[in-house]
């Protein structure tokens, strides 16, 4: 029994070996602590982030987009509930099976769903990814039935933008679309992949005000994705509502008047620049753009010969034709020419060995400035074109805001062209020919403007010469007005306004078709030639795309003008036939609106 006691044989040797072994263990322990140092200290921040992502699940609370109203509080753009299908990666066991199931549910190829999923998943979050919107109730029900089998598939109620007036307000309001990669790169803080943002019009320009700020509910979850507690909750900040200056009645009238036509109508308050109506035809239905635009619709819009996406009121430029005689008349009087001086019209004039035609081939006879405006006599203005040089004409054209954008809150506005000799050299590389001044005097030739600029011009004529920045959104801020050089005398403007009254209200005026009893409208017709004079016979005999453009620029009531209406009809024919009646319809709606608002008020005009 005692044989193993007190046996000290090679004891020191054994102790040394054991000590060495222990030393090895201690060394290993130190190496291991280095391993912990690496993971905890060197890479600690990385793992801390992973841990936070592990346990926090962020659910975005969609901020309702602000509604858009007309000036009387009628909704133009609103939100309606919409069912969307989402996939929650955290709950998905087999994504391929998920896509296959969703594909049968939606009738969309699985590859397409995968593509959408890949495009919209964002960063490290675990938020469900929406792969389809506008579900019908049958699909919603079917998705609900399969909830047990596919817990990763969810139905979410989102908001869908509805433009109740559809194509009637399309160019103003614009539409929403999925945020592009370029937008994301530009403003990574503002947008998430898959967000709908304003792509055009008011929706685009005022996107930041309308969209508000999405809220988030951050939940602590366990490894099974089960809710443990709420970690953070910031409610969504709803988007601001916008009230437009637009009067829906006027807007709808304008849109209806342009139905089946190509053109634009602008109605504007000459004192504060508020746009009461702005219609462009042809138009499109912006509701088709919300969510996912099908490629055929998009293609059809792009290939449409009349380009319905274009807002003709401010994105297209046209020769002003005879409406430009307003600027010519102001320039003539301000330059000291006598408005009572007469010119004899025999139906054409020959200047610089070139024959220029008047609208009336039989001739107007002897006319002063007022008569020339009333009858829109070209011969009279050919004379003015001979006497006023192009630089002076251009100066007055710019004085009325032509050649530069108006500053309306819409994108892609065109500035138009005010030609002069410098422009000719820079843009065309040729000198200005005096004969061109004769054309410009009647609003033909290279001079170009937008219907919106035309409305601004009319507003300046009415309000004492101020250029007003037009605006779509109602605000309490004062109107932006400027009074550029050269100063215009009130008497000059009054004289031209009176001539415009005669255009509509005197017998044989070109604007007679705009006349309304008991409401004095003043205006100027314009007929822009599309084909060369030599081939022109009459609008009825020409092919539709070769007919003249029709203008009518007007204001009313004459005594105390409240409204400017500009009508432009592309290839419509003459201004007096194709445009003036449309302006009259606009004023009728305006009057109906006035009477409706204030039935007790005394009758306007006289």
């Amino acid at each position: 029994m005692n044989v193993i006691r007190e046996d000290r044989f090679h004891r020191t040797l054994l102790v040394r070996r054991l000590t060495r072994l222990t030393g090895l263990s201690i060394g290993a322990l130190m190496l291991i602590s280095l391993g912990y140092w690496r993971v905890q200290v060197a890479e600690g921040a990385h793992y801390r982030q992973l841990a936070d992502n592990n346990r926090l699940r962020k659910l975005t609370i969609e901020a309702p987009r602000g509604w858009i109203y007309d000036r009387n509080g009628r909704p133009l753009a609103e939100n309606i509930p919409n069912y969307a299908l989402s996939i929650d990666r955290g709950l998905a066991r087999d994504l391929d099976a998920t896509f296959a199931f969703a594909s049968t549910l939606l009738g969309v190829p699985a590859e397409e769903l995968e593509r959408r999923f890949a495009a919209r998943r964002s960063g490290p979050g675990f938020a469900p990814v929406i792969i389809a919107q506008d579900l019908d109730l049958t699909t919603v029900a079917r998705a609900g039935v399969e909830q047990l089998e596919h817990p990763e598939i969810g139905v979410e109620i989102a908001h869908r933008r509805l433009y109740r007036q559809a194509h009637q307000t399309a160019h103003l309001l614009g539409y929403l679309g999925e945020v592009s990669q370029a937008d994301l790169n530009r403003e990574p803080q503002s947008y998430q992949p898959g967000d709908l943002i304003g792509k055009k019009g008011i929706e685009k320009i005022f996107d930041h005000r309308l969209r508000g700020e999405d809220g988030a509910r951050v939940a602590v979850v366990d490894s099974h994705g089960r809710f443990i507690e709420e970690f953070d909750h910031h409610p969504a900040r709803p988007g601001e509502a916008l009230t437009l200056a637009l009067d829906l009645d006027l807007q709808q009238t304008a849109a209806e008047l342009l139905e089946d036509k190509v053109g634009a109508i602008v109605a504007m308050d000459p004192w504060n620049g508020e746009i009461l109506a702005m219609a462009s035809a042809p138009s499109f239905d912006p509701n088709r753009f919300v969510g996912r635009l099908d490629p055929e619709t998009w293609r059809a819009l792009l290939d449409h010969p009349q380009n319905p996406l274009q807002n003709r009121s401010q994105q297209n430029r046209y020769p002003p034709a005879s409406v430009f005689k307003i600027v010519m008349a102001v320039a003539a009087i301000e330059s000291g020419l006598d408005p009572n001086e007469t010119v004899y019209c025999r139906g054409y004039s020959v200047i610089y060995n070139h024959r220029y035609r008047c609208g009336n081939a039989a001739g107007h006879g002897r006319l002063d400035l007022r008569g020339a405006i009333k009858h829109s006599c070209n011969v009279y203005f050919h004379q003015l074109g001979q006497r006023l040089d192009i630089e002076l004409i251009a100066r007055y054209a710019r004085r009325f805001g032509l050649g530069r954008v108006t500053g309306l809150e819409l994108d892609s506005e065109q500035a138009g062209v005010v030609p002069d000799s410098r422009w000719s050299l820079e843009a065309r590389g040729t000198p200005w020919y005096p004969g061109e001044t004769i054309s410009v005097a009647t609003g033909q030739g290279p001079i170009l403007l937008t219907p919106l600029q035309m409305a601004r011009l009319m507003a300046a004529l009415v309000n004492g010469g101020d250029l007003i920045t037009p605006r779509l959104v109602r605000t309490d801020e004062p109107a932006v007005r400027e009074r550029p050089e050269p100063a215009l005398r009130d008497s000059t403007l009054a004289m031209v306004r009176e001539a415009l009254w005669a255009v509509v209200n005197e017998p044989n005026g070109t604007g007679g078709r705009a006349r309304i009893a008991d409401f004095e409208i003043a205006g100027k017709t314009g007929t822009a030639q599309v084909v060369r004079q030599a081939t022109w016979t009459s609008n009825e005999k020409l092919a539709p795309d070769q007919r003249d453009h029709a203008w009518f620029a007007s204001f009313a009531p004459f005594d105390s003008p409240r409204l400017v209406v500009v009508v432009f009809v592309e290839h419509g024919g003459t201004g007096s036939r194709a445009a003036a009646p449309l302006a009259r319809a606009m004023y009728e709606t305006y009057l109906a609106r006035q009477n409706q608002d204030a039935p007790q008020a005394p009758a306007v005009g006289g």
């Binding site: 193993i4 000290r8 600690g44 592990n54």
Partner: protein, 360 residues
């Protein structure tokens, strides 16, 4: 007890400190599981301390005298386990003793240490001969074979470092070391090529590429590293570890308890715990250095091998330095019989120290 003051308190203090830290960590790790493991863990610490006192009271020479009986008894237990034990978790090692449970393979390790110490003490040479190795190999192979038959390869592997430590201290020749390594590698390769169970292959693969399949086999490695790493310098605070509290971390109160500690106490906490293990190991080595005979040194060698391998493997595995396997961490991991074994080890260390003077 005049000489009690001369006892080396290092192992006992380190053990008690670690047990208390383990108690707190297990409690934190299990606070979300519905079962609070703290009372049971505390109970086992109490049982362990009583066992420690009993072990200290009996002269280790007497224990070595009784080694063949312990050895035979533990082998009988292992056989009994094989015959009657229930299937639990794919390994038949849990022996149903009341509600507390017990693991005969743990007992078998200690019995094997005693048996080998007893045998090697009698070898009065600076180095072991081939014949001695054969005998030692047979002593080891019987319990190891029985444990392997239970499908508990983790426990069987634990015999390796423990026996290796004793043989190294007893005096291994270089050629025998090389032959041993060769044999082990041949067995390992053969096992890999033929009989490898898929879950073991998975563990190796997931160790080599933990991010390949973060929700599959690599899940534990990844979650464990996230837990450890997120602790950074000072940790999230006690009970604040999100990995642990939110159940991302598997086996967090048993094999991965140090991950919980790392998450909640940070690198400094880990250093503290590793330091305590260092204290345990070095003070045990000091006890060996002043022990009075071969028997004591060889006994301590086996205990150190068993203990330190658990510490090193477990802490390295948790931080992703070694493939995962079910090796608990002494004093910290929850588990009754394992806690008991660690206190028995501590008791044996103190036992050797207490009897370093002749005439006791």
């Amino acid at each position: 007890m005049r000489r009690l003051g001369n006892i080396h308190w290092g192992p006992l203090l380190a053990a008690l400190a670690l047990a208390v830290i383990g108690l707190a960590t297990v409690s934190s790790a299990s606070s979300e599981t519905g079962t609070d493991y703290l009372p049971r863990q505390a109970l086992w610490i109490g049982v362990g301390l009583i066992a420690l006192l009993i072990v200290v009271a009996i002269d280790y020479h007497a224990l070595l005298d009784l080694a063949p009986i312990f050895y035979a008894g533990s082998i009988a237990l292992l056989v009994a386990v094989l015959l009657i034990a229930r299937e639990i978790g794919g390994a038949r090692s849990w022996f149903g003793i009341g509600s507390l449970g017990g693991q005969p393979s743990e007992i078998a390790k200690l019995a094997t240490i005693l048996m080998l110490a007893r045998y090697l003490t009698r070898v009065r040479r600076p180095h072991l001969d081939f014949g001695h190795l054969v005998v030692a190999g047979i002593i080891t192979a019987i319990p190891v074979g029985l444990v392997v038959l239970q499908n508990d390869l983790g426990s069987a592997a634990m015999f390796g470092p423990m026996v290796a430590a004793m043989l190294l201290v007893g005096g291994l020749r270089l050629k025998h070391i090389l032959i041993g390594l060769l044999v082990v590698s041949i067995f390992a390769v053969g096992y890999w090529a033929t009989g490898a169970r898929s879950h073991q292959v998975q563990r190796i693969v997931s160790f080599l590429k933990p991010d390949k399949d973060p929700l599959g086999a690599g899940y534990q490695v990844r979650q464990s590293k996230i837990a450890v790493g997120s602790g950074q310098w000072v940790g999230r605070g006690y009970g604040q570890g999100t990995q642990s509290q939110l159940r991302f971390l598997p086996a967090r109160h048993t094999d991965f308890v140090v991950a919980v500690l790392a998450e909640e106490w940070g690198f400094l906490g880990v250093l503290g715990v590793l330091g305590l293990y260092g204290v345990f190991l070095t003070s045990t080595a000091q006890v060996a250095a002043r022990s009075r005979d071969r028997a004591g040194i060889l006994l301590l060698a086996g205990l150190l091998g068993l203990f330190s391998f658990h510490v090193l493997y477990n802490t390295a595995m948790v931080v992703g330095l070694l493939p995962m396997t079910g090796i608990p961490l002494p004093f910290l991991s929850y588990g009754g019989s394992f806690m008991l074994v660690n206190f028995l080890i501590t008791g044996l260390v103190l036992n050797v120290d207490y009897r370093r003077y002749v005439n006791r």
